[in-house]
Structures are given as C-alpha cells and as structure tokens.
C-alpha cells in the first residue's frame, strides 16, 4: 500500500493495511508505564538538536527529488549529470549515515524509525538515478514509480513531525502570509 495520505492520525488509526505498507513495520509502542518518565528532558532536547537539521534536510531532499521528477515529467527526459541531480545524491548519502547514527530516546524511537525508513526509500530512488530510462514515455513511467516512492517517504516524514521539538515539514517563517507577531 502506498501511503498516499500525509495525515498523522491516519497512520495511527487502526486500519487494515495491505502487505508492504510501512505502517505495518512501525515499532510497537513501549508498554512500560515508566518509559515516558525514564526519558529526561535533556535527552529529548539532545535528540531534537541532533535530528532537526536532518529532518529539515530530508524534507528538502524529498522536495528537490520531487522537483526533478516534475521537470523530467514536463521535459520528457532526465539528465543524471545535471548539477541539480548530483547535489541531492551527495546530500542523500550524508543524510542517511547521520540519521542512522542517532540513538533516539525511548519516546522518540518510533518517529526516528520513520525517518530511517523514509531515508531508505529515498535512497532506493536515488540509486536508480545513475541508470535513467531514455525516451519520453519510458522516462515518465520511471518518474511515476519514483514519485510514488517519494510520496511514501514524505508521508513518513510528516508522521515523524513533532512541533514541540521543532520538527515541522514546512518553514513558515518566510511565508508571505506569516509573521512572528
């Protein structure tokens, strides 16, 4: 099942999931009644500080890859040597290693898992960049498959959002409609 929905509640609501749905692999919630209080604020803050730039980076990476898919769809070709393609490949490699190296506190294990899974899905897409199809129809088929993968990754990133830790999918600070007043 492709996680077309991006709404957190929909991942958390009991559903019948199809085989392969990411929701089936989410680690179970910790049933230890003391687990919440065993995590200190300092641990959570340290986790937030470590993960926030990677969270933002992963969101931007998905946006950038989606944009490359969009240009390929419009133009009917995908140029793997284009600078805008090489940059996200480097970013994906860095981001993957760093996200996996983080050791989350108990209360953040499930969200951290979602980020690792999202990164893995993104990696599957970027791995295929070195072998793009030729011909507009074939390129568009490939773009279609990549886009579906990126939607899965994006759904996981949104599920891992936590405003209290500063993990937001969109940077509203520069929006034309928003201010900090």
């Amino acid at each position: 099942m492709v996680l077309a929905s991006t709404h957190q509640q929909e991942l958390e609501t009991p559903l019948v999931h199809l085989a392969g749905c990411d929701a089936l692999d989410v680690p179970p919630e910790d049933t230890d009644p003391l687990s919440d209080i065993s995590v200190t604020q300092d641990e959570l803050i340290a986790y937030a500080l470590a993960v926030r730039p990677l969270y933002d980076g992963l969101g931007r990476l998905i946006g950038q890859l989606a944009g490359l898919c969009l240009l390929a769809q419009i133009r009917g070709r995908f140029d793997p040597d284009f600078e805008a393609v090489t940059t996200p490949l480097e970013r994906a490699r860095e981001c993957a290693d760093m996200i996996r190296s983080i050791n989350p506190p108990k209360s953040a294990v499930r969200r951290h898992w979602a980020l690792c899974r999202a990164m893995s899905i993104v990696g599957d897409v970027t791995d295929q960049f070195s072998n793009p199809k030729s011909g507009p129809a074939q390129v568009r088929d490939q773009v279609s498959a990549w886009t579906d993968q990126l939607k899965r990754a994006n759904a996981l990133v949104r599920w891992a959002a936590d405003a209290s830790l500063g993990l937001n999918p969109v940077d509203f600070n520069q929006a034309c409609c928003c201010c900090n007043g």
Binding site: G63, A66, N154, D171, C176, C179
Partner: protein, 296 residues
C-alpha cells in the same frame, strides 16, 4: 458592450495582526494590519477559473492557527458556494507563485488545468539544493505540494509556462515577473473587452503587491505626491518588484484600482462587497453581461 468576465475576490481566512513592515517594505514599528487571505474567481466565456487556490488546512491549519494567528479558514467548497460554484466546476487555475498558501490546495480542484511559470518550479528546486546557510531562499515551499504538482503533470493537468503568454483563455494573459516576490511569479491580466491594448482590463496581482499602498505610497519625503513602495518579502529584488508594479499599472493605463491586491482589506472600500455567514468577505470586482451579482 458588456464585460466578458466576472471577477470576485474571495476571502478564505485571515490574520488579524500582521506586521505592517511585512506588507510595506521599510514600514518598521508602524504596528499591525489585518491581512485577509484570498483567492480569485473568474467566470465567463464558458470558463470557470481561479487565481491561486489557498492552502491545505488539514496539513497546516494547526500550526498556522497556533503559531501565526491565522483564523477562520474555510474550504473552497464553502467559499465558492457563496458564488454558486463547486470546486469541480473550476476548469483553469493560474498559480501566481508556489508558496504553500497559494499552491497548497490543488487537490480540491480535480478537473482544473493549472498554469505556473516553469522558472518558479526550476528555481525552487535549485534553491533546495543550496546549503543550509542559504535556507532563507527556500522558505514557505512544501515538498508535498511539489509531489502533488508531479501528479498534476502526470495527469496532463499542468502547463509550465515560459514567460508571457497571451489568450490562455480568451482575453486572459499571463505575465511573468521573474526574480521578484519569488523566482517565477506571474500576474494575470483579464482584458474584459477582448481588445489589445484593452480599455477595460483588470490585473490579478498575486503577491507582487499586497495592498493599494504598495502602488500609492506617500512620496512627500522625496517631494512627490505618490510613489511605488514594494512589499516586504522578495527572494528576487525590490527593483524587480517595482518594475513588475510598473508593468501592471501600465497595462491598466495607470488606473490603480484595476490592479487587484488580494491581501488588501480596503477592497471593501473600492468595490461592492458583503460578509458571508462564515464571516468572510466577497468583493465583486466586475460583472460580466448577464451575470448576477454575488454581493447584493
């Protein structure tokens, strides 16, 4: 001869306290203004079109409400119903720029073809490739919007425009304003007499101007009556914003009220309007021959 198109500005949400310096470049310490969020409905010549589609409240509503004081959001279904239109009837959407509050609700318009500048897409993608220290250049864009835009392209419902384009719909032109508010902003020119040049036209300005004051700023400080003063936010340049303002004004023979700033609360003073049961304003910019007023 009557006008070809009716145009309404439809408020769908608002911020009651927005820094004036965000609206008028350089207006520091001058307090706050109400900032309505609106999109534009255009009807005529057998078409139902929109300029921008607002944001997706399911995705952003809680954050915008709690953190930025954005209030009273209503869906396109509710807002358009006040003009007797269903979102499914909209066949054309002109996206002035890719900020989430203009592009973020495309899923609510399942039968529309969307027009956006290709540069708006390609430059955002470029901006996202820049290092973190350049993040200022890439705010307010949602990766999910780009994914949804890919879907539009896959469905053949996305037209990426390169520069100006005349008669996208009969008598409706798109004009690029590159490197201004955003990399590939565009404005919409409705020539209601179908003529070129037109003597009865309207400009839907997107965020190239927020309010009338961007076009009639007090110029007494430099010894003139009025001058342009750009909006507070530009990833391009203030110079390009001013030249875009000049181009828009020129297209309506410098009759300022014909350049419609959609964040302008004073539209109510300039055009017939009413408040709906949801406490949102409808401003009627012009009526096509035979169309019924939506504000009386």
């Amino acid at each position: 001869m009557g006008a070809d198109y009716s145009v309404w500005v439809l408020e769908y949400s608002y911020v009651t306290k927005y820094h004036k310096s965000g609206v008028i470049y350089g207006a520091h310490n001058q307090g706050y203004v109400k900032l309505p969020y609106c999109y534009v409905l255009i009807k005529g010549n057998g078409h139902t079109a929109m300029v921008d589609v607002g944001y997706n409240n399911k995705e952003y509503g809680a954050t915008l409400s709690n953190r930025f004081g954005v209030e009273n959001w209503h869906s396109p279904k509710d807002v358009l119903a006040e003009c007797g239109v269903k979102p499914e009837e909209v066949d054309t959407v002109f996206i002035t720029h890719a900020h989430f509050d203009h592009l973020g609700n495309i899923e609510d318009f399942p039968n529309a073809t969307f027009y956006i500048q290709e540069r708006e897409l390609s430059k955002w993608i470029w901006a996202m490739s820049l290092p973190d220290r350049m993040r200022w250049l890439m705010g307010a864009v949602d990766p999910a919007d780009i994914l949804r835009t890919v879907d539009l392209a896959r469905q053949g419902r996305l037209v990426a425009v390169d520069g100006d384009r005349e008669n996208v719909l009969p008598g409706i032109d798109l004009h690029a304003a590159f490197d201004s508010h955003t990399y590939g902003s565009q404005w919409v020119h409705v020539r209601n007499d179908g003529q070129q040049p037109s003597k009865d036209s309207w400009v839907l300005a997107g965020d190239l101007v927020y309010v009338f004051e961007n076009m009639e700023f007090d110029g007494s400080a430099v010894g003139i009556e009025k001058m342009y003063n750009p909006v507070g936010l530009a990833v391009g340049s203030q110079q390009n914003l001013l030249f875009a303002t000049e181009a828009m004004m020129k297209s309506v023979q410098y009759e300022m009220r014909r350049v419609i700033p959609v964040h302008e609360e004073r539209l109510r003073d300039t055009f017939p309007s009413r408040i709906t049961k949801n406490e949102l304003r409808i401003s009627e910019i012009c009526l096509a021959a035979g169309h019924q007023s939506m504000v009386k």
